[in-house]
Every structure is written in C-alpha cells, then in structure tokens.
C-alpha cells in the first residue's frame, strides 16, 4: 500500500508541470532587480543598507539589545586574534597578505569570485586555505574558530564597503550562479523547507524562537558571532546549521552547493555594505 502511495506521489509530481527550468534563460541582472524589489516593497520601512543587519532590521526589541551588545561586542577579541593571525608570517616568511590584492585589507566585499582557472566559485574561506596550502601550511577546518577569526578580521577591514560580486562572461560562471539559485530555492530535508522558505517568504517572522533574517544582504554579515554558539562561526558552519534545522544532512563545508549559493546570494546583495563580522542570537 505504501509503495502505491509513493508511486502515486511520483506520478502526480511528474504530471502537473507547468514550468520547466530550462524555459527560463539565466539573467542575473533581471534576477537582481526582482529580488531587490521584492524585499524593498515588502519592507518599505527598512532602509536598503539596513537589510545587512538581518533580524535586527525586522524587530525593534531585538535591535535594541543588539545595539547594546554591539556598542562593545564580545567578538572584539576574535577580530583581534584574526588580525594577529593574519599578520603572522608562514614558515616560509610570507603572509596571507601576499596572496591577496591590497595585502588582503578591505577586500572581503569582492568574494566569492569565479575562478576561470579552476572553473569554480572561490569563497574568501577557500581563498585563505588556498593561500595556506600554496605556502606549505595545512588548511584550516572550514567550520572552526581559526577560519572564523581570520574571516572576521578581513570582514572587519571591509566594513561599509559595498558588496562587489561579478559574474564574468564565462558560461561556467553563469552556471555556478544558476546552481546557487537552484540550491537556494530547492526544498529539502524532512521539514521540506528551502532556504527561501525562511529567508524570502518569512523574514521577520519567528520560527520557534528565532526571528528570521531576510535573504537580501544575509552574506554581508558573515562571519557571525552567535550567542547560541558563544563564539564566531564561519559561513560553512551557518549553512550546515541551516541544513540540520530543516532535517537535512549537512553537506561537507565549502562543497559546490554551498559555494554556489554564497555566490548567488552575494551577487543579490551587490551594493549593500559589508556589516560582518555580525552578531546574531
């Protein structure tokens, strides 16, 4: 009986299919316009640059607490640690700064990037590990504190700089963008939620105890210091938590899907200021 139901579901799913993904040509510029209009129309009282402050742009009570905490934020120590790590030379005498333009200062807004050589999206976290490996150092765990501290410091040096993501004229770059979009809108996990279920359809609403952040500008605050974690966490750590929260097994940190969705969301946030490292409940 059970099996019959399954088959019935499958047939049902296959039959009623008005739209096909292939029908829609990828047009990041049009996506960008529609995405922005959706949020600004839905939240006319939220200043555009304020979306990067996530749930605090949606809830006055939360905002007041955040402002009190952010006046002297607990992540100060993490940013300082990141600064020291960033300046400390590798065994070969080189530093992280040697791997990046402008010695790595004030460049966080340019990530993720599409890398023509590898044909893949390179996030800041991946670029940092590439830098380590190129200099004979072991890569950091993408979910752990060292990577969080480094990216927190780099974000800090980019505070206020507008997100600046480019999609080069390369079909692979467009494909990565499109894959990111697909990942964002695809429902998954036992709860049958997509990223968009929470961060497009329900920003500002409570889910269990949390106020959901809007998808617009959500990457600008990364990495984030969460009171729940009692520490700074990377983009990978947050994405994996998102997956778990909807009953889906998390993917490996910085897997294609995660890098692509970061690429997509960051492109959507182009022009909005970097606010990372952010604080979140």
């Amino acid at each position: 009986m059970l099996r019959k139901t399954l088959i019935a579901v499958a047939i049902l799913a296959g039959a009623a299919q008005p739209l096909l993904a292939a029908d829609k040509a990828s047009d990041p510029k049009a996506d960008f316009k529609a995405f922005r209009e959706y949020f600004t129309k839905r939240f006319p009282k939220v200043a555009l640059d304020d979306f990067v402050n996530g749930p605090y742009s949606m809830d006055a009570g939360l905002r007041k607490q955040w402002e009190a905490i952010d006046a002297f934020p607990p992540y100060d120590f993490v940013v300082d640690k990141g600064k020291q790590m960033f300046a400390a030379p590798f065994k070969n005498g080189k530093t992280y700064g040697d791997c990046f333009p402008n010695k790595g200062v004030g460049i966080r807004q340019d990530y993720p990037q599409f890398d023509a050589k590898s044909g893949q999206v390179i996030t800041l976290d991946v670029a940092l590990n590439n830098c380590r490996e190129a200099n004979g150092e072991k890569p950091f765990d993408y979910n752990k504190d060292d990577m969080a501290a480094l990216t927190a410091y780099m974000a800090f040096t980019s505070r206020g700089k507008p997100m600046n993501i480019t999609i080069p004229k390369d079909p692979r770059a467009l494909a990565a963008y499109k894959k990111g979009e697909e990942y964002f809108y695809t429902r998954r996990g036992q709860l049958n939620f997509s990223c968009a279920s929470c961060h497009v359809q329900n920003p500002g609403n409570h889910i269990r105890t949390e106020v959901l952040a809007p998808a617009l500008g959500i990457m600008n605050a990364m990495p984030i210091y969460r009171s729940t974690w009692g520490g700074m966490g990377t983009v990978s750590r947050r994405l994996r938590t998102c997956n778990s929260q909807v009953g889906a097994e998390p993917l490996p940190a910085e897997s294609d899907e995660y890098r692509n969705v970061e690429y997509y969301l960051s492109y959507m946030a182009n022009g909005l200021p970097i606010s990372g490292p952010g604080t979140r409940p």
Partner: protein, 104 residues
C-alpha cells in the same frame, strides 16, 4: 500541495513501519531489509538529499540488530528505507519545481 504529500507520506510511513509483523524476524530478514534501506539511502545521497531522520533510523536499526532485537531492527530498516525513498522523491520533484519559487 504536492510537496506536502511527501511529508504526509513520511508520517504515514513511520506509522505503517511499526505496525504488523506477526512472525518473529530473523537476522537474515534484517540483512535483507537493511540492504534495501542502504540502497535507498544511496539513491538519496546521489541527489544530495539525505535526511537526518533516515541516517538516525539506519543507525538505530543496526544497533537493535546488534542487540539481537531483529523485529525492531527490521521495522527500523523499513522505516529508513521509506524515509530515504521519500527524500529521493522530494529531490526529484524539486528538480522541476524550484523555478516556481524564484522571485520574478
């Protein structure tokens, strides 16, 4: 709508999975049931949509079998198989449906 069906399905499955089975199950029954569940979960992994609940059921099934409780182990394996199939069906369905959700 259709997406909801999958969730309901998963619930139905969990109820059905624990009902019935009058005759005591054996280690061989478990092996068969577990192999089927594992195969189904491989399918879910192939579409990058494993569920936490499936992994948990598989793990628990194995633990029950190790403890010699084959009735429970078989039921859990069947439960895991149904969950894995539901997650695969969800992924296949979403391959077609996701563009409907995109902000236009």
């Amino acid at each position: 709508m259709r997406t909801r069906t999958i969730i309901r399905l998963a619930m139905v499955v969990s109820v059905a999975g624990f009902a019935g089975a009058a005759v005591a199950a054996t280690a061989d029954d478990f092996k068969v049931a577990y192999a089927k569940a594992e195969a189904a979960e491989k399918g879910a992994a192939a579409v990058k949509n494993r569920w936490i609940a499936t992994e948990a059921a598989l793990k628990k099934a194995k633990a029950e079998a190790d403890a010699g409780k084959f009735d429970d182990a078989v039921k859990l394996a069947q439960h895991a198989e149904a969950l894995a199939n539901a997650s695969t069906a969800q992924a296949r369905e979403q391959e077609k449906l996701w563009p409907d959700a995109v902000i236009r």
